[in-house]
Structure formats: structure tokens, C-alpha cells
């Protein structure tokens, strides 16, 4: 009994309720004619697609910069990497490698500037990050139209200038990670081994990083800045490193998402990722100032599970599409709840 109580306390009652809800959705799915194997397939693919973006929340939370509502900054670096890779016309593995390299390069620059900015606004990082993300998306919207992209696959066909709203990766590096070592279980279920391995690789990298001296220093800055300063750690430097790391992870996450989706979403598309990613890591048990890799894994699994299962099951059950509204209420409610908990910032 004590063990059960401790498990409930550790895991959190909200997570248990959501996990049970998700499990019951899987159990009732066949009754309403929803294929379980296909549902599992969808959950796993979505898990892989969104995992690295959610992982990118961890460094900034650990260093005390709060939830990274400025995720679009990193995502845009990823988009830049992707379209520049297309400019080179590189296909297959080389194509995605160029995309990663260019994306990480831009993410490092953006992250550095973004980190410097966040260092000057300690205590107000989250609201400012949100607005920096929004502003940057619209600034880059102008850039997508103005920058001299030439590749016929990515520019608007009619005028030959300005990027398309969605750019197909069909002839370039679509499913490059998904199809690596993929395991076909049946017609409805294919395990994208490569993408999952890639996430595992990134997660281990982040985990290892937090074991190094720099990583420990970042955690110290986040959990007790005064202690960290007394120990001779440069707070601002550690915060910049964490922001750069988050931004680079976000860029990688965007490219992984794109290769699985098969398209590069341009213009306003990065706006759609920030709040769901934040909600996912919180759902996994992270708070405004503490997050672990385990939080990320549990969080994405629960969040994407609910997202995949509620529309298919509930729509077939009662013929009403409430899933979108459930998503809005659950994810934003989760964020509001987390913001009202934990250490008070800015005082």
C-alpha cells in the first residue's frame, strides 16, 4: 500500500488519470471499429516527429530560463537549414546531413543572440520569449519572400520568387530517418526505427551533457543562482549555453519533423509548435524550473497519445468532433496550472 501511495505521489495524480484515460481509449477502440495497430503506429510516428522539439525544452528549464515559448526561433533555424539544403539540390542522406549542419549553424547564432537577450530580462523570460517568437516568425515571413532562393522545388512556381507555403520533400530527403532500419509489422503498422533511434541518440547526448561539468553548472544556475554565483560559476554564460543548446535541438527537431511529414511548412507554421511542446513536457511531470529526459518521454507519449486517439475514437463513438477543443483546453490548462506552481519568479 505504501509503495502504491509513493508511486501515485511520484507519478502525479493528473498523469495517472490521463494514462488511464489513454489506456481505456485503446481498449474501447476496436468496439468502434478503430484499428488498434494503426493507432499504435500513429502514436509512435507522432512521438518520433515531436520528440526532439519537446526535448529542446529541457536545457532552458534546467538553467532557470523557464519554459521555452520562444521555440519558433530554433524551428526557423531548422527551416533555414532545410530550404538551404534544397538549394544545393542534395538528396538522400547527404541532403538531410546538410540540413542538420546548416540548421545547427544558424541555431547557434540565433541562440547566442536570443540568450544574450534573455540574460537582460531575467524574471520575465517567458512572456518576452513568447513575443520574440511571434515577432521573429513574422520577420522571417518577409525574409522568405525577399531572400534569393532559386531552387524550382521551393520557390512559388508562378512568379519564380518567394518560397511556397509548403515545400514537398518528395524528391529530396523524405522519410530519410523513418525508413532507416524500418520494421514492417503489417500493412497498418510500420515502426520507424531510425527516427526513434535518432531521438534516443539525442536524448542520451543531452543526458550525458548534463553529467559533464558544464551541464552540472547549468543545473546549479537553475536551481540556486546565488549558490552558483558563490561557487564562481558565470550565470550569464551558463544561461547562454543552455539557450543555444535548446535552440539547436529545436532546429534538429524541426528537420526530423519535416522529413517524417514529407513537407517543409513555411511562413506561420512554426507558431503551431511552441504551446503543444511546452504542454507535452509539463504533462510529463516537468515544472517551470525542473525537467528530466523521463519527463520528456512520458510527456510526449501521453500528449501525442491523447491527440491521436481522441479524434478517432470519440468521433466514431459519438459523432462529434470535440477533440480539437479538448486539445486546446488540456494543453493550455496544463500550462496555466504549471505557471501557478513552483517557485515565484521575478521577485
Amino acid at each position: 500500500m505504501v509503495a502504491i501511495n509513493r508511486f501515485i505521489k511520484d507519478f502525479g495524480i493528473a498523469r495517472i488519470i490521463i494514462a488511464i484515460f489513454l489506456l481505456s481509449l485503446f481498449i474501447v477502440a476496436p468496439i468502434f471499429g478503430v484499428r488498434v495497430d494503426q493507432s499504435i503506429n500513429d502514436v509512435i510516428v507522432r512521438f518520433g516527429m515531436n520528440s526532439i522539439m519537446v526535448l529542446s525544452m529541457v536545457p532552458m528549464i534546467q538553467s532557470g530560463c523557464g519554459l521555452n515559448f520562444g521555440l519558433p526561433v530554433g524551428l526557423i533555424a531548422g527551416m533555414l537549414g532545410a530550404v538551404i539544403s534544397l538549394e544545393f539540390g542534395a538528396v538522400g542522406f547527404a541532403g538531410i546531413a546538410i540540413a542538420f549542419a546548416v540548421g545547427i549553424f544558424f541555431a547557434a547564432i540565433f541562440g547566442f543572440v536570443y540568450g544574450m537577450l534573455l540574460n537582460r530580462v531575467k524574471g520575465d523570460e517567458m512572456i518576452i520569449a513568447t513575443y520574440v517568437g511571434f515577432s521573429f516568425v513574422f520577420l522571417m515571413n518577409i525574409m522568405w519572400l525577399v531572400l534569393p532562393f532559386k531552387s524550382p522545388a521551393s520557390v512559388q512556381g508562378f512568379k519564380g520568387e518567394g518560397l511556397r507555403t509548403t515545400i514537398s520533400l518528395d524528391k529530396f530527403w523524405i522519410h530519410q530517418l523513418n525508413d532507416f532500419w524500418k520494421i514492417k509489422v503489417n500493412d497498418y503498422w510500420t515502426i520507424p526505427t531510425g527516427m526513434l533511434l535518432f531521438f534516443a541518440f539525442m536524448a542520451v547526448l543531452v543526458w550525458l551533457f548534463f553529467k559533464t561539468k558544464t551541464g552540472t553548472a547549468i543545473t546549479a544556475v537553475g536551481s540556486n543562482p546565488d549558490y552558483a554565483r558563490a561557487a564562481g560559476i558565470s550565470i550569464n554564460k551558463m544561461r547562454i549555453i543552455s539557450v543555444m543548446l535548446s535552440t539547436m535541438l529545436a532546429a534538429v527537431g524541426m528537420i526530423v519533423y519535416e522529413q517524417s511529414y514529407g513537407f517543409i511548412g513555411m511562413y506561420n507554421s512554426p507558431l503551431a509548435f511552441a504551446f503543444p511542446s511546452v504542454a507535452a513536457v509539463l504533462l510529463g511531470g516537468a515544472s517551470v524550473n525542473k525537467a528530466t529526459i523521463l519527463n520528456v518521454v512520458i510527456g510526449i507519449f501521453l500528449f501525442q497519445g491523447i491527440l491521436t486517439m481522441t479524434p478517432s475514437v470519440i468521433n466514431s463513438a459519438i459523432n462529434i468532433d470535440v477533440s480539437e477543443i479538448i486539445r486546446i483546453i488540456v494543453s493550455n490548462g496544463m500550462i496555466v496550472y504549471a505557471l501557478t506552481r513552483g517557485k515565484k519568479g521575478g521577485e
Partner: protein
């Protein structure tokens, strides 16, 4: 010496509005709009938006920053308008009834928002913003699944074809209800005196309110929560009251805004209300910690002038319509971002300076 400092202060406080005036002066000739047209448009925009902008003033005074949760009030106002549209009551009486309906909803939402924000001291702005997204979900659920089902509607043309849920766009029978009360025409420029009187009334209310006990308490709480608490002010209660008043005012503001436009975008009509109101206020030279009525009115006029002129100027300049459109959005978000950064930066610098002077004092003491 003192005079010099005062001039400098005046200059720093008006640098943002000055910058915008300069940009407008450059952009207006490029946009090829006539003066009369622009004047008419600015008056329309003032009528439409100033009430919403003024609704932001009190939470700023209470030290809670920009109330992005004013969207909650806007939704309450829209619910009021939806019901009177169903009942088919037009004109100014309809608008008054909508305001009466919206008030209790806004008070309830404001009370809820105030309670939540008290649990998130120091990060009110991001919390109020997320709260507005959260309540938007509940608002959509209410209108899409409860209306026409559990809540009976008289007019079936209000509903979606499936029989329940409110339609995406509604024509309001109360369009221009306040505007047409007393419309004066000055050589092609129409001035709706009725609406301006309502806005003037709100300004008078705000000035009066600042002088009351509650208004003074709010200012004290905004200055320093701990000191106010020791002085016997119920800090949490005062903060909740400021949010309630702001939410109720925002609901009236949205009603005034929509009566001027004439159509209601049911599901996302309120989304941008807080952004544009905040940007207007900040363009007027307000900061996150200090905002006045002139800031609000000048800011509204300037922001909407830019908002009108910029895309057209951009189109003539570059030949691409979308660039102007994106620039306009970048500009709205950018203004808010810049103001937030400047304020937070200054706050941090003040804190560092306090710390340095304390260290100096400690060193001198022994």
C-alpha cells in the same frame, strides 16, 4: 541641472511615439492616401479601439503588467452580443442589454483570472496570456456544443446547419447602435459623438477612480506589495479587483468595437484584441509599469495610422502585397516585444544598481 534631467526624462518617455510619428511621416506619402480619408479612418479607429485600450490601464497601475487576459472580457462581450442578436433587439437598447448580459460573465471570469494571477505573482503577463487561450477553449465549447442544444436559440439562422452551435460569422442588428446616436458630418469626416461621449465617460471614471481609496490602494500595491501588505492593504483582494474592473471594461470595449464593425467573427474575433490594445498603448509611450489616458488615446491613433498606411506603402514600394501584410504583423508584435524588453531591462539595471550601492554602503560602514 534639474531642468536638464526633466527634459531628458520627457524625451525618453516620448521616444517611442516620436519614432512612430517619423515613420508615419515617411510612409504616408508613399501610401498615396488622401488626408481626409486618413482623418476619417483615424476617427473610426479611435471610436472602435480606444475603449479596449483604456481597459488595460488599471492592472498596469496595480503592478500586474499588461492584462493579456482582457480577451476574457472580450469573449463575455461577444456572448452578450450573440444573445441579443438571437433575440433580435437592435440599436442602442440592444447594445445596453448586451452590456448588461456581459457584465456578470465578465465579473465571474475576472474573479477567476485574478485568483489565478495571484498564484503566479511575478509572471502575470504570460499567465494571463495562457489563461486567455485556455478560456478560449471553454468559450468555443460553449458556443459550438451547448448553444442551440442545452441553451435554446429562437432564431435557427443563427445556428450551423447541423442544428446546434453558433455560426462562424454573424451580422449584428445592433451595428452602429452607439455611433448613430449623434453623428456629425464635417466635410466628409463623420464624427460619432455618441460613442466619443461613452469613451469620455470612461476617461472621467478612470481619473475619478484613481482618486478613490481603492484606486490609491491599487497604486500602492503596484509600487510595492510587501509594504502595502504591512500597511494593511489586502493585496490579493486589490489585485483581483483591478482585474475584474479591467475584464468588465474589456467586455464593454469589445461591444463598442463590434457595433462599429457590424459583423461578429464568432470563434476568433477576440483573439487579437489584447495584442492590438497592448501595442496601441505601448506605441503611445506607456510602459509595462506606467500608463496614462493620453498614452492610450495618442497610441491608438498612431498605431492604427501605421497599421493602415504600412501595408499599402509596402505594396507600392516593393510591389508585393504580402510583404506589407507581414510587416504589419511583425510591427505589432515587435512593438510589444520591444516595450517588454526595455521595461524588464531597466528593472534589472535598477536592481543591480541597488545592489551595488548597498555593497558600497556596507563597505563604508565599519
Amino acid at each position: 541641472m534639474k531642468d536638464k534631467n526633466r527634459y531628458r526624462k520627457l524625451l525618453t518617455s516620448s521616444v517611442v511615439p516620436l519614432m512612430f510619428i517619423v515613420i508615419s511621416i515617411i510612409a504616408i506619402p508613399l501610401s498615396r492616401f488622401s488626408g481626409v480619408y486618413l482623418l476619417d479612418q483615424i476617427i473610426t479607429r479611435l471610436v472602435r479601439n480606444s475603449f479596449l485600450v483604456l481597459a488595460l490601464l488599471l492592472p498596469i497601475m496595480a503592478g500586474m503588467g499588461i492584462n493579456f487576459g482582457m480577451v476574457l472580457g472580450a469573449m463575455a462581450g461577444q456572448i452578450g452580443l450573440i444573445f441579443i442578436t438571437d433575440w433580435g433587439i437592435g440599436g442602442a437598447p440592444g447594445l445596453l442589454l448586451a452590456a448588461v448580459l456581459a457584465t456578470p460573465i465578465a465579473i465571474l471570469l475576472g474573479y477567476f483570472a485574478g485568483g489565478v494571477l495571484n498564484r503566479a505573482k511575478g509572471r502575470e503577463m504570460i499567465t494571463s496570456m495562457m489563461l486567455s487561450f485556455f478560456v478560449a477553449g471553454i468559450y468555443q465549447f460553449f458556443l459550438l456544443y451547448m448553444c442551440g442544444n442545452l441553451i435554446p436559440f429562437k432564431n435557427p439562422r443563427m445556428l450551423l446547419s447541423r442544428g446546434y452551435g453558433v455560426r462562424n460569422a454573424l451580422d449584428l442588428p445592433v451595428a452602429k447602435g452607439f455611433d448613430n446616436l449623434l453623428m456629425l458630418d464635417f466635410g466628409g469626416v463623420g464624427i460619432p459623438i455618441g460613442t466619443f461621449l461613452i469613451i469620455a465617460l470612461l476617461c472621467v471614471f478612470t481619473i475619478w477612480f484613481k482618486k478613490t481609496k481603492l484606486g490609491q490602494d491599487m497604486r500602492a500595491v503596484g509600487q510595492d506589495m510587501h509594504v502595502s501588505n504591512s500597511a494593511g492593504i489586502a493585496v490579493d483582494k486589490t489585485r483581483i479587483q483591478s482585474i475584474i474592473i479591467s475584464t468588465v471594461l474589456a467586455s464593454y470595449g469589445q461591444i463598442i468595437y463590434l457595433q462599429n464593425i457590424g459583423t461578429l467573427n464568432t470563434y476568433n474575433g477576440a483573439d487579437q484584441a489584447a495584442l492590438f490594445a497592448a501595442a496601441s498603448l505601448l506605441v503611445g509611450g506607456a510602459t509595462v509599469a506606467k500608463a496614462t489616458i493620453p498614452n492610450a488615446l495618442i497610441g491608438t491613433a498612431l498605431f492604427h495610422l501605421m497599421f493602415l498606411v504600412m501595408p499599402v506603402a509596402g505594396k507600392y514600394l516593393t510591389g508585393q502585397a504580402m510583404i506589407g501584410e507581414y510587416f504589419r504583423m511583425f510591427f505589432s508584435y515587435g512593438v510589444v516585444t520591444l516595450a517588454l524588453i526595455l521595461h524588464s531591462w531597466k528593472k534589472q539595471k535598477d536592481k543591480d544598481m541597488d545592489r551595488a550601492s548597498l555593497r558600497l554602503a556596507l563597505r563604508k560602514e565599519p
